[in-house]
C-alpha cells in the first residue's frame, strides 16, 4: 500500500473522537430499543404461527413473509419517504414537521418491525421443536390452551432458542448500520464521515470494525453465560435458517 500516510492519532482528536463515541452510542441505542420492540412483538407473531386456529397462523405467516422478502434497505426507504405521505393529513404533517428525531425514530420502527419477523421465526421453531406429546400431556391434565403455552411450551422454547436469538440480536446490532442511509449518525456513518474529512480511511474503518467485533464477542460471551444458566438437560439448541 504505497503512498498511504498512516494517521492513527487523528482519531483521538476532536471532533473525530467525539464522532466515534456518539456514533457508537447511537448504534447501541438504536439496537437495544429496536430489540425492545422486536422481542415482544416477534414472540407474539411466533406464537401466532403455532396456534391451532388457521386464521391466526395466516396472520403470523403474512407478517413474517412480508418483512423477510423485502430488503431491509427498501423497508427503510418506505418508512421514511412513503409512509408519511400515506398517513392521514394531520398525522403526516406531524411526522414530517414536528416529530422529534425523525430519522432515528423511523429507523427504530423499521428495524424493530423487521427484527420482530426474525424473532418470530426463532420462537416458532423453538415451540415446534418441543415434542407433540408435551402439548398433549399438558392438555390431558386440564390446562387451557393459554396455560399450555405459558407453563409448558414457552419456558422450554425460550431456553432452546437462546443461541439463535443471540445471533438475531447481533443481527439487529449490525443492521442498525442501514440507518445511515436516512441520516442517522450511527457508528458506520461516523466512520465514513471521518474518512471523508481526514482521508484516514483505514484507521476510521478499522476503529469501527474493532468496535463491532468487540460487541459481537461480548454479546456472545454473555449469552453463553445465559444459556448455561438456563439450560435444561436433554434439550439441544435449535434455530430457524
Amino acid at each position: 500500500m504505497g503512498g498511504y500516510n498512516w494517521n492513527w492519532p487523528i482519531l483521538l482528536k476532536d471532533p473525530y473522537f467525539g464522532w466515534i463515541v456518539s456514533g457508537f452510542g447511537n448504534t447501541w441505542l438504536l439496537a437495544v430499543l429496536a430489540w425492545a420492540i422486536a422481542f415482544p412483538l416477534g414472540s407474539v407473531v411466533g406464537i401466532l404461527r403455532t396456534a391451532d386456529s388457521r386464521a391466526l397462523r395466516l396472520i403470523g405467516t403474512a407478517y413474517v413473509e412480508l418483512f423477510r422478502n423485502i430488503p431491509l434497505l427498501v423497508q427503510m426507504f418506505l418508512w421514511y419517504y412513503v409512509v408519511p405521505e400515506l398517513l392521514p393529513a394531520d398525522w403526516g404533517r406531524w411526522v414530517k414537521r414536528e416529530m422529534p428525531y425523525p430519522q432515528f425514530i423511523t429507523a427504530l420502527i423499521c428495524l424493530g418491525l423487521y427484527s420482530a419477523s426474525r424473532v418470530a421465526e426463532q420462537v416458532r421453531s423453538g415451540i415446534e421443536a418441543i415434542p407433540q406429546g408435551q402439548r398433549f400431556a399438558a392438555m390431558a391434565i386440564g390446562l387451557t390452551p393459554v396455560q399450555v403455552y405459558r407453563y409448558v411450551l414457552i419456558p422450554v422454547a425460550y431456553r432452546i432458542i437462546v443461541p439463535p436469538l443471540t445471533s438475531d440480536f447481533l443481527g439487529v446490532f449490525k443492521n442498525s448500520s442501514l440507518a445511515l442511509t436516512i441520516g442517522v449518525l450511527e457508528l458506520t456513518s461516523q466512520a465514513r464521515q471521518i474518512e471523508e474529512y481526514t482521508f484516514a480511511a483505514f484507521e476510521a474503518f478499522a476503529t469501527a470494525t474493532v468496535l463491532y467485533c468487540l460487541v459481537t464477542g461480548l454479546v456472545i460471551v454473555l449469552m453463553r453465560g445465559v444459556e448455561k444458566r438456563s439450560r435444561i438437560a436433554g434439550t439441544i439448541a435449535v434455530g430457524a435458517q
Binding site: M1, G2, Y4, E65, L66, R68, N69, I70, P71, L72, L73, V74, Q75, F77, L78, Y81, V82, E85, L86, L170, K174, N175, S176, S177, L178, L180, T181, T188, A191, R192, E195, A201, F202, F205, A208, T209, Y212, C213, T216, G217, Q241
Partner: protein
C-alpha cells in the same frame, strides 16, 4: 390513497429501472458463484485436520460475520483500488466485497452439511473397505449436497436482497435507480412501492420453490 399513485411515472422509468435490475441480477449471480467457490475452499480447509488452517478459516468466518455488510462494502470500495494500485470500477470492488462476505456464510452452510452426517455412516463406508476419499465421494458428499442445497439457495435469496446495499456507494442497482427517479421526479411513493413489490414477488416465489425442492429431495 391511490390518486397519488401515478402509473405514468412508472412507465417512463421502466427502462432505467430495468437497467438497474440487470446490474442487481449480474451482481447477485457473480457473487453467488464466487462466494460458493470460495466458501467451498474454506469449508474443505476447515474440515481438514491441519490445525493452523482450521483456525485461520474460523477466524476469517467469525470476523466477517461480526461486521455489518455496509462496512465491508466501504472497506473494499475504498481499499481495493489502493491495494491493487490502480483505479477499479465500483462494480468490481463491490463484487469482491460480496464474494468475501458471502463466502463466510456459504462455508458455514457447507461445513454444517458435511458434518451433519452421522458418524456411523462414514464408519459403515469405511468398514466395507472404502478409502476415505471413496467414502467422501460415494457416501458423504451425495448426502451432504442434497441437504445443503436448500439452505444454500435460501442464503442466495438473502444475498439477492443484500445487493440493494450498493446504494451506499452509488452503484446503480435496482433500488438506487428507483431512488434516482424518485428524487428527480419527486415521486417516492410509486418508485419505492414498486421496488418493494418486485422484491416481494421474486423472493416469495423463490423461497416457495426452495421449500418444494426441500420437501421433494430431503433425505
Amino acid at each position: 390513497m391511490f390518486s397519488v399513485f401515478d402509473v405514468a411515472v412508472l412507465q417512463r422509468a421502466l427502462p432505467f429501472l430495468w437497467n438497474g435490475m440487470r446490474l442487481t441480477l449480474q451482481l447477485t449471480t457473480m457473487a453467488v458463484a464466487g462466494g460458493l467457490a470460495l466458501g467451498l475452499v474454506l469449508a474443505v480447509m476447515r474440515l481438514s485436520s491441519v490445525r493452523p488452517l482450521t483456525w485461520l478459516v474460523a477466524a476469517y468466518v467469525n470476523f466477517l460475520r461480526s461486521m455489518p455488510l455496509i462496512l465491508v462494502i466501504f472497506w473494499f470500495y475504498t481499499l481495493v483500488p489502493k491495494i491493487i494500485g490502480r483505479s477499479v470500477s465500483g462494480f468490481d470492488s463491490v463484487l469482491i466485497a460480496f464474494i468475501m462476505f458471502e463466502a463466510a456464510y456459504y462455508s458455514e452452510i457447507i461445513r454444517a452439511g458435511i458434518s451433519s452426517l452421522r458418524r456411523d455412516q462414514i464408519s459403515a463406508a469405511l468398514a466395507l473397505g472404502l478409502t476415505r476419499i471413496q467414502a467422501m465421494r460415494y457416501v458423504v458428499l451425495p448426502q451432504a449436497i442434497r441437504n445443503m442445497i436448500p439452505v444454500l439457495l435460501t442464503q442466495s435469496i438473502v444475498m439477492f436482497q443484500d445487493t440493494s446495499l450498493v446504494y451506499v456507494v452509488g452503484l446503480r442497482d435496482f433500488l438506487t435507480s428507483a431512488d434516482i427517479v424518485a428524487s428527480r421526479d419527486n415521486r417516492p411513493i410509486e418508485m419505492y412501492l414498486t421496488v418493494a413489490l418486485v422484491f416481494l414477488i421474486i423472493c416469495f416465489s423463490a423461497s416457495r420453490l426452495v421449500n418444494k425442492l426441500r420437501r421433494r429431495y430431503a433425505l
